[in-house]
């Protein structure tokens, strides 16, 4: 591996404290390539990399202070990935065996990912730990993913490999755990690079930080290339001169597919900032865009909110965001206010609000389903709040004074994809009627890895994917009105309600089926997790002990505070089959606490 890359294994402190800039012999990869741009017309990832490697573009990694730390041109990526593939071949694994990689924002992760594809293996990305005191929960989460993906090999950079070793101790399939450095010291087997078929699995994508039963979405080369082509040609209308910047984690679908794989497949250069560094100093992301004249940068609404909240007025003077033509927004419910505040704050430094590009997608469709029209900015409609709840129908507000909900236009499906809205019985609904969002098309997953039960819940007859989200169509454009009730999105992170409930049910004072977790939206658009528990405890101290313990455990698992409410037995509403209804539990909580819910969710069937 090149010396610029092995430097990353040195402790972080050395990487930017004791390195005078004169030591850096490296410079960023160019925006303008020397070769003709091919717009994602490849059959496989490796075919795309073989082409991109003939040019001069590639990936650039920047540190927390904005300094260039290492560069991985596609040419070097191809070379290093092929070398690592020979080392991987030494394990003599069956074709398609899984390789788990902890995906910090590093060149090593990308090299390993492609090395797997050169060796005919299937990589999957695992998260880095993000929460205070999360050690035990994190190891449990890794172990669950290693088991669910039946990984044969697991890799992590030096900072994370001890967590991985701990997690791998109680797994069945693991043959080897180590760092990329250790892998590169193993003997090379002179195996020919594998030719990949479009119908083969390209990688697995884990969908949420579920601690018990994480689900690995199976994405084939064909689904991946189809989705990337849609993103590159239709969603973004990529052209020579485009350059991307990203802080999105490599273990999320938007970060991996949208800002690692898609740029390479279109031979664009990308500038990266680690997620942690963005979260602490969001200004660095905007500086990267400004300095390197990036045209494409995606974020969840929460990322924009961080920028609006934490960038000081005095920081604005050095910024010029006029180059930013596609500010993709996705991965959680988009609130117009979040985008409007961002645009107001950064208009003075050239940010054009027509750059806003709301989109809709999910890991189960590789990444994207719909894109709004590029260069049109945020479009939304206001619908009558009462009709929405009473009749599940979106009626545009005509008169002033009516209470309304504003929903963002997420645009039309990519070519080769269809979206339909259905009611509880699966019957297709006409425009403006609110129901479950179903997707059909070439980038829909093959299923969840080794999990026919969950697969059959998600994939309906005719290969229609039930997204679990709720919305309506208007003039062919998709509007999302509510996410599914089994996933709570806090600060851009997906948290499964079931995982929170399981933490509660593990407590000796709580019986199973006596805990219900859901999200409540504040007026300012933030989501708070509420955990309602049926409890027989009467002593105040006992009740308080339980509440504190639960809050601490939820924090350690997910890094969020939650509100715990203890209610008498038989308070929580149940369905006819005896299952707790989170939707009804949420309605009950809203009534008891007398809060006004700014965004009435329409019930979705828990998936």
């Amino acid at each position: 591996m090149s010396s610029t890359i092995t430097k990353l294994n040195a402790p972080l402190t050395q990487a930017f404290d004791s390195q005078p800039s004169s030591d850096l012999q490296i410079s960023i990869t160019p925006t303008i390539n020397v070769q003709t741009q091919r717009l994602a017309d490849f059959d496989t990832l490796i075919e795309a990399l073989e082409y991109a490697a003939k040019g001069t573009t590639g990936y650039n990694f920047h540190d927390a202070r904005g300094k260039l730390r290492s560069v991985l041109p596609y040419r070097l990526l191809r070379q290093n990935a092929r070398l690592l593939a020979k080392r991987l071949s030494g394990f003599s694994l069956a074709r398609g065996s899984r390789v788990a990689i902890i995906a910090d924002t590093s060149p090593e992760f990308i090299e390993l990912f492609f090395a797997c594809r050169y060796a005919g293996l299937v990589p999957f990305a695992m998260p880095v730990p993000v929460n205070l005191g999360s050690h035990a929960m994190y190891v449990q989460q890794l172990r669950a993913m290693l088991n669910s993906g039946q990984a044969s090999i697991a890799l992590a950079n030096l900072d994370y490999v001890n967590f991985l070793e701990e997690a791998a101790r109680e797994t069945e399939n693991i043959k080897w755990v180590g760092t990329p450095d250790q892998l590169s010291k193993l003997p090379a087997v002179d195996a020919k690079p594998q030719i990949n078929h479009p119908d083969e699995t390209a990688y697995l994508q884990f969908t949420s930080g579920s601690t018990r039963a994480p689900r690995g979405v199976v994405i084939t080369e064909r689904a991946l290339m189809s989705n990337i082509q849609g993103i590159v040609c239709n969603g973004l209308e990529i052209q020579p001169g485009d350059r991307a910047a990203s802080w999105l984690p490599f273990y999320h679908d938007m970060g991996l597919v949208g800002l690692v794989l898609a740029p390479m497949v279109a031979q664009l250069s990308v500038d990266y900032l680690a997620t942690r560094d963005f979260a602490i100093r969001p200004l660095q992301w905007l500086r990267l865009i400004s300095r390197n004249r990036c045209t494409i940068a995606f974020s969840q609404p929460f990322g924009l909110k961080l920028c609006t909240m934490r960038v000081r007025e005095s920081d604005l003077k050095d910024l010029d965001l006029s180059c930013w033509r596609a500010a993709g927004i996705g991965a959680e419910m988009i609130r117009p206010d979040t985008l409007k505040s961002f645009a107001e704050k950064f208009a003075s430094v050239g940010f054009n609000d027509r750059a806003f590009l709301p989109c809709y997608g999910l890991a189960e469709t590789t990444l994207a389903v719909t894109f709004s029209k590029i260069n049109h900015g945020l479009k939304s409609i206001r619908v009558d709040a009462k009709t929405l709840v009473d009749k599940k129908m979106a009626v545009r507000v005509q008169a002033d004074g009516r209470k309304f909900n504003e929903f963002v236009n997420c645009g039309q499906p990519l070519p080769g994809h269809t979206v339909k809205i259905v009611n509880e019985t699966g019957k297709e609904l006409p425009g403006m009627m609110v129901g479950s969002v179903l997707v059909h098309g070439s980038s829909v997953m093959s299923g969840y890895f080794n999990n026919p039960e969950e697969t059959s819940k998600a994939l309906k007859p005719g290969n229609w994917l039930d997204t679990g989200d709720i919305g309506f169509l208007f003039e062919g454009d998709l509007y999302i009105t509510g996410r599914r009730t089994d996933v709570i999105i806090v600060n851009g992170r997906n948290i499964r309600a079931q995982d929170i409930e399981e933490i509660a049910e593990q407590q000796p004072e709580v019986r199973s089926r006596e805990a219900s977790a859901f999200g409540i939206n504040d007026a300012d658009g933030t989501t708070k997790i509420v955990l309602v528990i049926e409890s027989r405890l009467s002593a105040t101290t006992e009740r308080q002990t339980l509440i504190s313990r639960l809050q601490k455990m939820v924090y350690m698992a997910f890094g969020v505070n939650c509100l715990v409410e203890l209610v008498p037995p038989h308070t929580l509403p149940r369905t006819s089959s005896g299952k707790l209804s989170r939707f009804a539990a949420r309605q009950g909580f809203i009534q008891r606490t007398n809060i006004t819910d700014p965004l009435p969710a329409v019930e979705s069937r828990d998936r």
Binding site: N131, L132, Y160, R310, Q551, G559, V560
Partner: protein, 85 residues
């Protein structure tokens, strides 16, 4: 690093925590950052930024997984500071 520096770190840290935690609880080394001070993710980001700027260090994300109390955090800062000097 001499003992006085460790005490200095602890003192600075307690001052910062008093400001951001908006509780009346006195900050002591054994206090849990998680359930007693309710440091949520946004407060944590601000705290890490201040620590990095004040002590001129970089706090690696993997190390936070083993931090639960005020003392754990002071120990971590002290360790990083000693390693980098």
């Amino acid at each position: 690093m001499p003992e006085s520096n460790y005490n200095e770190i602890m003192q600075l840290l307690c001052n910062r925590l008093e400001n951001i935690s908006n509780t009346d609880v006195a900050i002591t080394p054994d206090l849990s950052l998680i359930d007693q001070l309710s440091i949520d993710s946004i407060k944590l980001l601000n705290l890490i930024m201040e620590i990095e700027d004040t002590f001129d260090i970089s706090v690696p994300i993997n190390a936070l997984a083993d931090v639960q109390t005020v003392r754990d955090l002071a120990d971590l800062i002290h360790r990083i500071k000693s390693e980098s000097s």
